[in-house]
Assembly symmetry: C2
Homo-oligomer: 379 residues x 2
């Protein structure tokens, strides 16, 4: 029935093309961690390794993963930082960098990022800027990192004026998503990752969105086969998009669906609203915006709303956010170009609206600010 | 007689191939600044520009250069930081970044680095990491920046454990070296830049080194024709090397001649020894090291010593540096691989020794540490 149900549960490899670095494979499946030494030798041979993770993930998996890596006979430095998005900042980036320098890691070192999106972004930027760049490997442990952030090479940190405003495109040498590592995640945290899976369906594959909705129960409960099938399909979608436009000059912008308003809501909440929840609400509102402008098929926002609710995410912003504050934050959004705020708009579920901009396809669009205000006002 | 004397003094263009970014031109000559608006339109069209320089350079040239840029009808933000290598650090990088964010510069912005090596490195790294990378243009005003640091895409900052240990390869969209901007530099500062010119001769062009030595008087006095000829030849050499090996996987290492010991001397002096002086002494010592090992032709160190002295640079390290301290700093050098300190060694003036490392040419070499100690002990 759904696309998800048809897919195999065995480990699968998806290749990502890169112009910034080398092409790289993404391996997905339960138990794939045992392939780590071989993959490191093949794609990221190094004189020494830095295994970087937050305190929680390192407590859970650090010793095991370091043990697997040590079978290579190379030094493995374990570096830990305090968990939480609040620590994805320049202070921790400096601390991790200087710790690696103190340990004497050279240009022939390699960073292995073990954790969720925060770790991938932070450790990735440490690698990107360390001695002007050393390789990084992504070992995602959260759903959001597996389906989204570990693939595509975006790294960076948050700064007082906004999230991800400092960083680098630094593609990993490979991504290894062992879905067994995600088994113990609490359902709330799994929900957060499912927002990006719903988004992948919403922008390019309606049957995938339906599949995520239909299997929501198993996905939230931590079922291995359902999780692997989902990660594989999301990685396929993300790999296809970033292979075609790594630097986000065009097509890659479609991955920002739900994110323009999502980021503003997140910021307006003082980052109390988690990213996945913010994107979930952002997708519904941006679909509504498209409907209001006559670009998006009627009923699209409602279909996304149903999928979002099924995976346990909020369908409206938290009470008490100030509309002028949100609008002010929007104009600071880093996707602003020439002072315009731009949105990815759907044609319908599974299809992004592509306008034209001087002959080339345009994947994001400026929208009259009163329309944005009306959508935000209606919630 | 000398190579320098044969060259034209008109503005000249050298092209640099890049795999990280686009290929880019380097324009050298007196008065080339008037070409800035055209070059910006062609190679770095942007919604807004950030002109970044230190307080001294901005006082001297900021208003004029900003005025030239403003003819494009785009906003030009002027950003200033306190002069001196001590400010090429993460604190200033953060301050400049956050100032650009406050001014609302988007991904369609462009950084223009106006100044010496410190400015090019610092502003270049701001651009490399701003919103995951925006374009940078290099407008060198010092000799060292014109002959060396503005070309090749290396950007970065110093950290407590050493210089240039954090950064990125971020090639400029173009380099514009208006030799008139260097006319007012004091001779001491010109000397510092001549160290890299001597180095370019020492590694690939003996007649160029002889030319720099022969024209030292004019070069130190600020003669425009001599300066332009020198900058052109150095840019040609640097462009050829970085076009063949941008990421310093191999050949580009030859540009580190004199720098392994130079960096250690610089650090050991608490950075009181200027970079050019440190490289000057480093070249003499590394040539002596090569002679001691039987790799470098006898008399090479002496020839380099003569050239170094002619351009007003020191030929021995400052008194009072501790040998164990220098040796300790060496092993921390970022070029250390697998715990080995590596040196670029000459065959003779104008030719680098190339060994073999598993079939591939090796441009840097590990050297017995007692030989290094003996060379340092002899000074």
């Amino acid at each position: 029935m759904s696309r998800l149900a048809d897919m195999s549960t065995s480990a699968i490899r998806v290749d990502v093309r890169s112009t910034v670095g080398r092409d790289y494979p993404v391996l997905v499946g339960p138990g794939t961690l045992r392939r780590l030494p071989t993959l490191l030798s093949e794609h990221a041979a190094a004189h020494s390794y830095a295994l970087v993770g937050d305190d929680r993930v390192m407590d859970l998996h650090g010793a095991h993963v370091a043990g697997v890596m040590e079978t290579l006979g190379r030094p493995v430095h374990r570096l830990t930082f305090p968990h939480g998005e609040a620590n994805k900042n320049r202070t921790e980036w400096i601390r991790l960098t200087d710790t690696l320098l103190e340990r004497g890691m050279g240009r022939d070192g390699c960073v292995v990022a073990l954790g969720g999106g925060v770790t991938g972004d932070l450790a990735g930027f440490v690698a990107a800027s360390y001695l002007r760049g050393i390789p990084v490997v992504q070992l995602p442990t959260s759903i959001v990192a597996m389906v989204d952030s570990s693939v595509g090479g975006k790294t960076g940190v948050d700064v007082p004026l906004g999230k991800n405003l400092v960083g680098a495109f630094h593609p990993p040498r490979f991504v290894l998503a062992d879905t067994e590592l995600a088994r113990t995640l609490p359902p709330e945290e799994r929900s957060q990752g499912l927002a990006e899976a719903v988004k992948h369906g919403a922008i390019v594959d309606a049957s995938y969105m339906a599949g995520v909705e239909a299997e929501a129960h198993g996905l939230l409960a931590g079922s291995d086969p359902a999780t692997t099938r989902m990660v594989v399909r999301s990685v396929e979608i993300k790999a296809e998009v970033v292979s075609r436009d790594e630097m986000e000059g065009g097509l890659r912008q479609i991955l920002n669906f739900g994110h323009t308003l999502g980021h503003a809501l997140e910021a307006a909440s003082g980052y109390r609203l988690p990213h996945g929840s913010a994107v979930a609400v952002g997708m519904i509102l941006e679909a509504r915006l498209g409907e209001m402008l006559g670009i998006t098929e009627a009923g699209t926002a409602e279909r996304i709303r149903t999928a979002v609710a099924a995976v346990g995410l909020p369908v409206e912003p938290p009470a008490g956010l100030s509309l002028p504050h949100i609008l002010g934050l929007l104009s600071r959004d880093k996707k602003a170009r020439g002072g315009e705020v731009r949105f990815v708009l759907l044609k319908r579920v599974g299809e992004v609206f592509s306008g034209e901009d001087g002959g080339a396809p345009a994947w994001s669009h400026s929208v009259p600010s009163d329309a944005v205000a009306r959508v935000l006002d209606g919630v």
